[in-house]
Symmetry: C2
């Protein structure tokens, strides 16, 4: 079923121990939508500048992603520059130029109003809430957020949290949002704020899914090289929401499958800079890695 992603489209400049790249296609809506396109039909609401050209739009078209909601306005596209070192668990931001993203107000094309699933990438909570309220026919919506909004706009964040079924955040953000260190308690507190389905992302340690009273852990797939962690979280979200949207099944067993697809897709994302690996996938590769995670975690009862 149709899945709408709202978030950023950016040009990323990234340095890792494996090399560096300049101004490659990135952003939360980009990683999410390309990933989810392997599971279901996806449309995007985002903003880009005049420097965003045919070459970039072609990447989305190649994955049959509906970009009618990608607004092109005067100015330059959002730019992010970051670096990873050591165990590569943490990005160090070197430069952020919001450019056209600074005054981004998501506009939902009429053709998108019947979307059944929504992913609200990490943007200002007030804008997330506006989008959520503009779509009354949703089956489920998912939210990502970050420390900046948790600390800076707690009331606005609380309002949008109360309207979504699913929250995907990382471990540190879960602790910050709940104000407790213990993740099981943090999850219970966050579930009371709105989202009954909560995914706590733990980077190279995988993710934990809390749905109702059930807890499920999925590891990250062990890779020989983690080339570039940029976008891994949005890619996880793309696999998770992509599988939920294509199945429409909210049973605990199916949410677990969705979390495994999240981990599968995240593992592909980090194998190369940018979205290159995510574009070159095959359904067979996705299913094969799903089975590898099965054998990675299997033991006899």
């Amino acid at each position: 079923m149709s899945l709408l992603a709202v978030g950023s489209i950016a040009f990323d400049s990234i340095r890792t121990p494996y090399g560096d790249v300049q101004e490659i296609l990135g952003g939360s809506a980009t990683f999410f939508s390309i990933t989810a396109s392997w599971f279901t039909s996806v449309s995007v609401v985002a903003v880009v500048g005049e420097d965003f050209g045919e070459e970039q739009f072609k990447v989305f078209r190649q994955r049959s992603i509906d970009t009618r909601g990608v607004e092109q306005v005067p100015g330059r596209t959002f730019r992010w520059k970051g670096e990873y070192a050591g165990d590569m668990n943490q990005a160090h931001t070197l430069d952020t130029q919001l450019n056209v993203f600074e005054s981004f107000v998501p506009k939902i094309p009429t053709a998108y109003l019947d979307s059944k699933f929504l992913f609200l990438g990490n943007i200002v909570p007030v804008l997330q809430l506006n989008v959520r309220q503009a779509l009354p026919n949703l089956t489920a919506s998912a939210l990502d957020t970050m420390n900046y909004w948790i600390q800076g706009m707690p009331d606005e964040l609380a309002k949008v949290l109360a309207t979504v079924e699913i929250l995907l955040i990382n471990e540190g953000e879960a602790r910050m949002l709940s104000r407790v260190n213990n993740l099981k308690k943090a999850a219970a507190i966050i579930q009371k704020l709105g989202p009954k389905i909560l995914v706590i992302k733990r980077g190279e340690h995988g993710a934990t899914l809390f749905s109702g009273n059930s807890i499920f852990t999925v590891p990250a797939f062990p890779l020989d090289e983690v080339f570039d962690p940029t976008g891994a979280g949005d890619t996880f979200a793309g696999g998770f929401m992509g599988h939920i949207a294509r199945s429409g099944d909210f049973s605990d067993a199916n949410l677990r499958r969705a979390a495994v697809y999240g981990s599968v897709m995240g593992s592909f994302a980090v194998e190369e800079f940018g979205v290159g690996r995510l574009l070159r996938l095959t359904p067979g590769e996705i299913e094969s890695r799903y089975r590898e995670i099965k054998s990675l975690t299997h033991f006899d009862a």
Copy 2:
């Protein structure tokens, strides 16, 4: 089958966000042997001072642990003082008094010479090697070590590593020992140093087992309270080696079971200060938590 543990016996003083305790029974041999005693018969080689009394020996006897190898010498028992804060993943040592442990030379009682399984707790590598060489009839031996020896005595550590089948170390130590950040590569490098079976402990994120070419991840059991992480690593080792010793089965499927028992026992250890929870266990509780970890990780293929 008989399992011999060589390591420290200590009095620990610990402060956590949940409270603090003074001079309670601790040490690697203590946590390991009490844990392993739930699986198989265990004997201990360690050293204590004159301040170690009937009350402490009784704790070992209560679990039918053979303490004929616990040498009592003039002086005070090893003391450690530490603190945990925040996410409690890291102990901050406030004070270490080696006392009688400083001149510890393990002496293996004749009655222990037919031991089939050996756990070499974290002590000077030269002493670990001496013990290993004094026991020619072992089926398998396991080693723990730490950053201090990896950096300070690499040659001595390499010698003992070459003689053991199993190594249990934490994530940071695996990176330090292999000199690579990627854990899959680190494991391959470490396996070439000797131990074909490697457990990389990841604290609250669980552990990863590398046996030959197989990789298995087990999560930590999610608890409402992590009261005191002291001894969790040695407790994991006690469950892992305890199950291997009782089964004598080195198949990949059984090593996976052993890793789950390691995680199970580690989760009990941290529920209270010291060894209290490990003494009050029942076999039913152990099996029940084993099944809970099964349901925590299960998803449909």
